[in-house]
């Protein structure tokens, strides 16, 4: 045994020496190059990373469709037919927005562009466009006359009248309730047109009846609280992201009522996504992202009720998000990528995709015509209702230095007023607004 290891160690030594010896070019390169100019150095040998000619591989990296069942659907139902038709392989990968940007950074700055298509969230699109890492698709979009993308997201997908991203998988906020909460619903309230005040009263009634709060919001900093609050604020006529306008104040008061009535789940500070607490029945009430609401709803349709988000004086407010397809600059498979995007954005494919993946809204005007009346269509229908009739705002991520920091301004107000049972004061909100405005570019 020991002999074997001795030999092994000797081998290790030799092998490592070889390894070290194999890297001489690297060594000299490092020595010669001064620190600042390194990125400009041309390394001639590196183009050959690409795919073998025989069958083309299209690399598709996406932040969207990350839940495993959505991945499964996208691979088998959407990608597969395209692969068969074109005799190519689509390499589908799920990557979060930040890593996607990091990866693009390294690929672009070292000229190893191996990713062809990226799917980014609308709050991050500006970063892609500003860095010049995505191709201008305006001409292609104009040549497809069977589809018109929803106008709602132009501010994110386009810049200077040029379209870089093609929208996919839009979302708004829906109300999801565990049926156990229904007996507490105030008399005469219709769930499909419930107001924010009624929602707050309902939440407080549940808390009183159960001895424990049951409203879920994402209490972990930098998650979706800003969107949850934003929807309320829009219902009261505020803009987004407004923290201190009159409408916003009314919105804060709604949440203050819930806070003072101990309406939040006690573990609210540890909620990262409301999916888990809703499924565990730790929480019974929430207003959140329609695809995630659809996911919980699908886990037990007879136990949950879905409705549009509550309304206010100006209507049903909701933040709308969307993702977008874009082609990476210098993609080696540009033409193939264009035809894949053409395929993906066809109205019927968009609808198939929306249904198969839990209830995203297909952001193509023509797509709405393809909806039926199954349970999943109910989710999409209610979401479309909010998107069409509601007061909807996108996420103006590009206007701010850092959207995460904007979120933090809202998180802080929540943590030090509503959560502690304190009053939301105009002074505190003015402070929050300063916090937000300071981040404007």
């Amino acid at each position: 045994m020991n002999k074997k290891f001795t030999v092994l160690f000797a081998l290790l030594l030799v092998a490592s020496m070889v390894l070290v010896a194999c890297q001489p070019e690297v060594v000299t390169k490092e020595v010669e190059v001064p620190v600042e100019v390194v990125k400009e150095v041309e390394i001639p040998v590196e183009v050959e990373v690409e795919v073998p000619v025989a069958s083309k591989t299209l690399v598709f990296s996406s932040r969207l469709f990350s839940p495993p069942q959505e991945q499964e659907f996208f691979i088998t139902e959407i990608i597969k037919p395209f692969e068969d038709e074109h005799g190519v392989t689509v390499n589908f990968q799920i990557i979060d927005d930040q890593t996607l940007l990091d990866r693009a950074d390294i690929q672009q700055s070292t000229d190893h562009v191996t990713t062809d298509i990226v799917v980014a969230h609308n709050s991050r699109m500006a970063e892609w466009i500003d860095a010049g890492w995505v191709e201008d698709l305006t001409d292609h979009v104009e040549s497809w006359d069977d589809r018109h993308f929803s106008e709602a997201f132009v501010q994110n997908t386009n810049k200077d009248d040029k379209q870089y991203f093609l929208p996919v998988g839009a979302d708004v906020y829906l109300l999801l309730a565990n049926n156990k909460a229904l007996p507490y619903l105030p008399e005469g309230v219709d769930l499909d047109s419930i107001t924010w005040e009624e929602y707050a009263d309902w939440a407080v009634a549940v808390a009183e009846g159960e001895g424990e709060g049951k409203v879920c919001i994402t209490g972990i900093p930098s998650k979706s609280w800003v969107y949850m609050f934003g929807g309320t604020a829009l219902s009261f006529g505020a803009g987004f992201p407004d923290a201190n306008s009159a409408g916003a104040m009314d919105a804060w008061k709604v949440w203050e009522t819930i806070g003072k009535g101990n309406g939040f789940v006690p573990t609210v500070l540890n909620v990262d996504s409301c999916v888990d607490p809703m499924m565990r029945e730790e929480s019974w009430l929430t207003v959140f992202h329609n695809a995630r609401a659809g996911q919980v709803f699908a886990s037990n349709e007879t136990e949950f009720t879905l409705a549009p988000a509550p309304t206010g004086p100006t209507g049903t407010g909701s933040i709308a998000g969307v993702s977008g397809y874009a082609i990476m600059k210098d993609s080696a498979n540009y033409d193939l990528a264009v035809s894949f995007l053409e395929y993906l954005t066809r109205p019927e494919i968009q609808v198939k995709l929306a249904k198969g993946t839990g209830g995203f809204i297909p952001p193509v005007q023509e797509a709405i015509d393809y909806l039926g009346d199954e349970a999943i269509d109910e989710v999409i229908n209610k979401a479309v209702l909010v998107l069409e009739n509601g007061v909807v705002s996108g996420v103006p991520g590009g206007d701010y230095e850092d959207w995460g920091a904007v979120k933090a301004c809202f998180d802080d107000v929540f943590a030090d007023t509503i959560l502690t049972g304190a009053d939301v004061t105009q002074d505190r909100l003015d402070e929050a607004q300063t916090c937000i405005d300071d981040l404007l570019k």
Partner: protein, 355 residues
């Protein structure tokens, strides 16, 4: 005579207490592990129940009746001891999918058709039927979604092996130097190699990746090994140095007296004695390389590591904690195997080496 049996009894009692204590210790340490394993076998519905079932069910009892939209499906709840409604649909394909994805039970549309016609033909309001649970359902889903899991797994093993190779050889040499030689600047150097671990790795992960990309090691397993070795070498130096220090120089000298060269003395005497230290370092290095994702995601495209494909599958697995558990366990198994093989070198029985 009597005292002898007494002694035996006392010894047996002592041993019993000792092993009882060990068992308690293990049970305490591994309780969380039990739950994550158990969770990986639960159906989604059970995984989100409270109180959580302690063991996975092996069968699913279902009730089929009439609902508002079509057929009403109910499921036996082991905790509440009653049938609970879960689905109201006329679409049997949807029901099949529901039973698979939420109840972790396989049933074909034909079988469902048989059950529905049984319901239609009976006078009862509902009928009951039982199906065995597909216990490996989560693993099944996990490996369906995780494309190219096997090549990625092999690649990860290669990377970990290569990292061990690089770090043990380069680090081991230096470790030996620090343990056996007295030279100017020794303490400073020894401290400096540790500084690599002191400098927060998160701050330089990205720039390090850039260096590799420039050196044409983008999407190459070797590239990742080189990155992982940076942290591993410092660790190896310290562990091996401390182990070499514990081995008396006199042993090596004794061998040299009997005619061995310094190199032979090292190979025949010191190295075998240092095996536990090398094994301990190897374990650290393996686990570090095996579980790393940050650099691997950015640096790989067509050749992802296993940790990367697991990350991609589980990134959005909220609401499917049982699947996340299955993924986590799948990732842990090779590492646990490695631990299993290495353990005997760490806890070496004495008597193997005689000088």
């Amino acid at each position: 005579m009597k005292s002898k049996t007494n002694k035996k009894v006392i010894k047996a009692a002592k041993e019993t207490v000792f092993y009882l204590f060990l068992t308690t210790l293990i049970a305490g340490m591994l309780l969380p592990v039990y739950f994550i394993i158990s969770l990986s076998f639960l159906s989604t519905r059970e995984a989100y129940q409270y109180p959580l079932p302690l063991v996975p069910a092996i069968k699913t009892d279902m009730e089929l009746g009439y609902g508002e939209r079509g057929y009403l499906l109910s499921v036996w709840d082991r905790i509440d001891k009653e049938y609970q409604t879960v689905l109201d649909t006329a679409d049997l394909e949807k029901m099949e999918y529901y039973i698979k994805s939420q109840l972790g039970t396989k049933i074909t549309e034909e079988e469902l058709l048989i059950e529905t016609s049984r319901l239609e033909n009976s006078d009862e309001e509902s009928i009951f039927f039982t199906k065995p649970r597909a216990l490996l359902n989560n693993y099944d889903t996990f490996f369906t979604v995780t494309r190219d899991a096997v090549p990625a797994l092999i690649r990860s093993l290669q990377i970990a092996g290569l990292t061990i190779l690089i770090s043990l050889s380069i680090g081991g040499l230096a470790g030996y130097a620090f343990a056996r030689y007295i030279f100017r600047g020794k303490d400073t150097l020894r401290f400096s190699v540790l500084f690599v671990r002191m400098f927060p790795g998160v701050a330089i992960a990205l720039p390090m990746v850039f260096i590799l990309a420039e050196a044409n090691l983008y999407d190459e397993p070797l590239g990742l090994s080189l990155i992982y070795s940076v942290g591993a070498i410092g660790l190896t130096i310290w562990i091996t140095a401390s182990i070499f220090m514990g081995i008396p120089v006199s042993l090596e000298e004794a061998a040299q007296v009997f005619g061995a060269s310094k190199f032979q003395a090292f190979m025949k005497v010191t190295l075998p004695l240092a095996l536990p230290g090398l094994a301990a370092s190897a374990m650290y290095i393996f686990l570090g390389a095996w579980n790393e994702t940050v650099a691997a995601i950015i640096l790989t495209q067509f050749k992802p590591t296993f940790s990367v494909v697991v990350y991609q599958t589980l990134l959005g697995a909220s609401g499917q904690v049982n699947l996340a558990a299955a993924g986590g366990i799948s990732m842990a198994i090779p590492a646990i195997f490695f631990t299993f093989f290495l353990r005997k070198y760490i806890n070496r029985m004495w008597g193997g080496v005689k000088v």
